[in-house]
Amino acid sequence: MNDEQAPAHTAAEPVPVLEAVDVTVRYPVHRARGESVHALENASLRLIPGRTVALVGESGSGKSTFARTLALAQKPTSGSILLNGKPASAQGRRARRDYARRVQMVLQDPFASLNPLHRVRYLLERPLRLHGSVTGREDLEQRLRALLERVRLTPPERFLDAFPHELSGGQRQRVAIARALAVQPEVLLGDELVSMLDVSIRLEILNLLATLRDEEHLAMLYITHDIAGARYFADEIAVMYAGEIVEYGSAEDVTQTPAHPYTRLLLDSTPDPDRMEFLAGRTNREDGEPDAATDDYGEPPDLVHPPSGCRFHPRCPLARAACRTESPPHVQVTDRHWARCVLLVEPGDGASRDTTTAEVTQ
């Protein structure tokens, strides 16, 4: 349970199709003062065919930046994106197209991601013409139908000539997914792709994605703030906080035995029948007063001036004095489960947390 048990499993692990290595992204905000938003810090991730990695975190934790960087829509400040082991580039039209053929992204808001002035037919025709080597009218028509059927928009004739505004949110997101699938990519990046949808439709879309992933052997990145949904859908979960990946492991491990205090807070905020005793033990509301330390009432961190040491320390219920100054160690909890928290190296009891830290932030 420490650093010495270095990742020895890499040899046995399947080859990732898309890999991010120590990617850092900073957006300049105030050039004169040289300030920048530290949107992403040294994030690494591997996407493996047929498997889903969920990127979980609150708003502003850098999830979308990470996805955009993986789609090469955002240039990393440092670090690299490897496609099949080779550095990926989207400089120039050819490179962008070649990359698009392999990596596709479905955006969050199906009301914004489809041009309102184009019919579904056009929206699906473009990727086919750009990447699908269509042979003729007949072939195109058949492929359009097949695509709509694959995302369960049937009968296809009813949808081909529709404009996006004539479709419901779930139907639009299916069109967006069909658009990405038309390319026959190896990697599908989904940026909160169900968060804008009605709860009743989310499960349908997630099941559809799971089926497609298994059928097409897609490597999938699923970005969400809903850790319960991630547990249901993903094989691995990466928890992000303030631009850093703070915990990584299989979906089961991360949700059942969370190692990082932030993951625990995330799980606390989700009702989950399997974990009710954990919930009951931790909520502390007898006094009726919001307790800044035990309940999460903290502010999202300022990413222009990120907190020193562990970025989570101002909100951490278990923070110690050391957390303010020392950056937390990378700790291998089990074979495929790691987290960045000092408590994993020197576990203390939760009661001896540094209360002064909590007060300072108020």
């Binding site: 041009n115 750009l130 949808f159 529709a162 004539e166």
Partner: protein, 303 residues
């Protein structure tokens, strides 16, 4: 899976014209007036000259006749027919206005779209160019250029001058619109799909600019007509062509007002005024169509 919204009427040759008529009443009235002008410009000269036998240039002995059966709008001091002049002048003025409006709108769309889409150095250069044209005093410049041309090249040279100097404001508004469209998800989506930049500009962004483009086209159509009429009235346009402006120029030269020949200068004046009002109505209508807040206010006021 069923469609939640009722399926819209399919676009056929029978339903297409209905889609062209805007739901907004102001826009409808304005467009109807403009349609009348276009109709007059298209078939009016033929009706007046061939069917009614009136000539806009022929000098006759019937000098300064008030409206009568033979000359429905009377005659000028040279004995030419005012109705014929007005109708032929409508064609000239509209053609000049359309040419100037198309030139200036095309330029403004090109500059605004390219600058707004690419940003960076391209935007800086095009922005500087736009600003130069913005600070150039428009009308004096047009007067100098038109005065230099002295009627050479006919009314279309003047139209070109007006078009080439009047695009800057339009370019600004289109640049701003493009800036907001560029950051929309569907543009990012097209980029991630591997579409080329020119195609994204033309197929994804440009169609979304159409409301703004049509609004500026209408506005610049009318301002161009007014500018050309103004130049003609001042006598620095091409005074050999018949247009609303030259009608007013000669009416003023020959002191129509003093001799009480109201039928000489009132018709072109009304023609210009009504066209200006129509363009204004269309602009208000487009504003209400594209800005839902104005629509809401109107509805609340009506209740």
């Amino acid at each position: 899976m069923t469609l939640t919204a009722a399926p819209p009427a399919r676009l056929t040759w029978r339903t297409a014209p209905r889609r062209l008529i805007p739901a907004n009443r102001k826009a409808r009235v304005g467009l109807a007036i403009i349609a009348v002008y276009v109709l007059v410009a298209a078939v009016g000269p033929w009706i007046v000259q061939s069917l009614m036998g009136l000539s806009p240039t022929e000098i006759t002995g019937a000098v300064l006749q008030p409206p009568s059966a033979a000359h429905p709008l009377g005659t000028t001091q040279d004995g030419t027919d005012v109705l014929a002049q007005l109708v032929v002048g409508t064609r000239t003025s509209l053609l000049v206005g359309v040419l100037a409006a198309v030139v200036s709108t095309t330029l403004s769309v090109a500059v605004g779209l390219i600058g707004g889409y690419y940003g960076g150095a391209v935007d800086s250069v095009l922005g500087a160019l736009t600003n130069v044209f913005l600070v150039l005093p428009g009308l004096p410049l047009v007067i100098i250029l038109a005065g230099y041309l002295r009627g050479r090249g006919g009314p279309f040279a003047v139209a070109l001058v007006i078009g080439l100097t009047g695009w800057a404001w339009g370019a600004r508004s289109k640049r701003v619109q493009t800036l907001s469209l560029r950051n929309r998800d569907f543009v990012l989506g097209a980029r991630l799909l591997g579409e080329s930049n020119p195609r994204i500009m033309l197929v994804e962004v440009l169609p979304n600019l159409l409301p703004v483009i049509s609004a500026t086209l209408m506005l610049s159509l009318v301002t161009s007509i007014l500018a050309v009429s103004g130049l003609d009235f001042l006598g620095i346009g091409d005074i050999n062509t018949v247009s609303w402006g030259t009608m007013l120029y000669f009416a003023q030269q020959r002191q129509a007002m003093v001799s009480g020949a109201w039928w000489w200068f009132v018709p072109p004046g009304i023609a210009i005024t009504v066209l200006g009002a129509a363009a204004g109505l269309v602009n208000f209508g487009i504003d209400e169509l594209t800005n839902p807040r104005l629509r809401g206010a109107r509805r609340k006021g009506a209740q």
